[in-house]
Chain length 229, copies 2
């Protein structure tokens, strides 16, 4: 457990085509934590217009099957954030959707205390060269699409999550696909608030945590193998 | 696998103080399924005003830590729904918030093809006597609060989820606390679309499913024991 006071200012970026569980897995976990701890959350997007889990343009069969979240702030009026959560999703493939997200991340990145990426959220940082010469993981299902975006990243093929705490830059906690965002959030809570608190939140959510950051059957499922790590 | 054509019209009810993962665990799973299957979703609430994960009034320490979802329909103009998802959350304790939800459920319940409840979502049905003489489970953490609401319900103490398919009434798939909603949704997908599809969606989400409906370490964690089942 970290003995410093935990950060209280959380933010999450959202964009059209964000993956719902990438956002709501971590946030639901933090919601439970926030019942007993002082914390603030900013849901940050390009504008205050509701943001859909469906990408633009939407090529899915069920184009009407989606949910919309309401941002609390825009990229231009967002409050100071200490912990930034960056989700993934189909929307990360759109340069148009990602341009304002990248611009915002660029402007705040080096002042952040912690960065948490879920799924292809790490692709956004990789494409901005913010993970160069650093260790990170990502979605195993889209491995071959994402990893070329960051040729200088030390991609970890088999990992539920990876913590890179290279000195002099904000630590980046990157996680694997979709549901891995819940596990990395619990690991993060454990570091900041202790194992007892993390276990207590997991019990309230009736969630069986993956405690081993190297647990990753999906690297094999998706054929992400090799001798790089 | 059910050989009949699966239902396509899904709905979820939301209310102030819904539990985020109760909603977005199942929906994120169905979102992935909907990329390849024809499905529609209605997010149904009392009005079209965004609905917060924070209850009203909010007594949590971090009263500003929450998210808002945008409904697509109101209880009075909702389209026909075949599968209704009923989440839980602190908001279920508010008679004011629940009155319109109950009124809507009462009006559609017996025309539904399937009902899925997550966490204290089953408390809503129990309080309306819609689970009388039927088997159901609920959140283990709030067991002693919820189960007295349905004294005639055959509450199953140790279960990740319970399927009650009493003839003549819509089948009710009730699940345990919060994260159990993901597992019950996968079981539901497996029945409707087959094991291969369920496994495929789980692999995309990198989610390790609990396949045994009786798996429930949280019954012991929360002291929900006894000889009733």
């Amino acid at each position: 457990m970290n003995t410093a006071l935990p950060p209280t200012k959380y933010g999450v970026v959202v964009f059209p085509g964000f993956q719902a569980l990438d956002v709501f897995g971590p946030l639901s976990t933090l919601n439970v934590l926030s019942r007993d701890h002082s914390m603030e959350l900013a849901v940050i997007a390009e504008s205050l217009t509701p943001v859909s889990t469906n990408p633009e343009p939407n090529t899915f069969v069920s184009s009407s099957f989606g949910q919309e979240i309401l941002p609390t702030h825009t990229f231009t009026n967002a409050p100071e954030v200490e912990v930034l959560i960056i989700p993934g999703g189909f929307g990360t493939r759109s340069k148009v959707s990602m341009a304002p997200v990248e611009s915002y991340i660029q402007s705040v990145f080096f002042n952040l205390k912690y960065v948490i990426t879920v799924c292809t959220g790490s692709a956004i940082l990789a494409g901005m060269s913010l993970l160069d010469n650093r260790r990170a993981t990502t979605n195993k299902c889209t491995w071959s699409l994402v990893t070329p975006l960051g040729p200088k990243v030390e991609w970890v093929r088999k990992a539920r999550w990876v913590v890179d705490d290279t000195p002099g830059v904000p630590p980046v906690w990157s996680s694997s696909g979709v549901s891995a965002g819940i596990d990395v959030t619990f690991a993060f809570i454990q570091m900041l608030y202790g194992a007892g608190t993390a276990e207590s939140v997991a019990n309230v959510m009736e969630y069986e945590r993956h405690l081993d950051d190297k647990w990753d059957p999906f690297a094999d499922v998706w054929g992400v193998t090799g001798d790089l790590d």
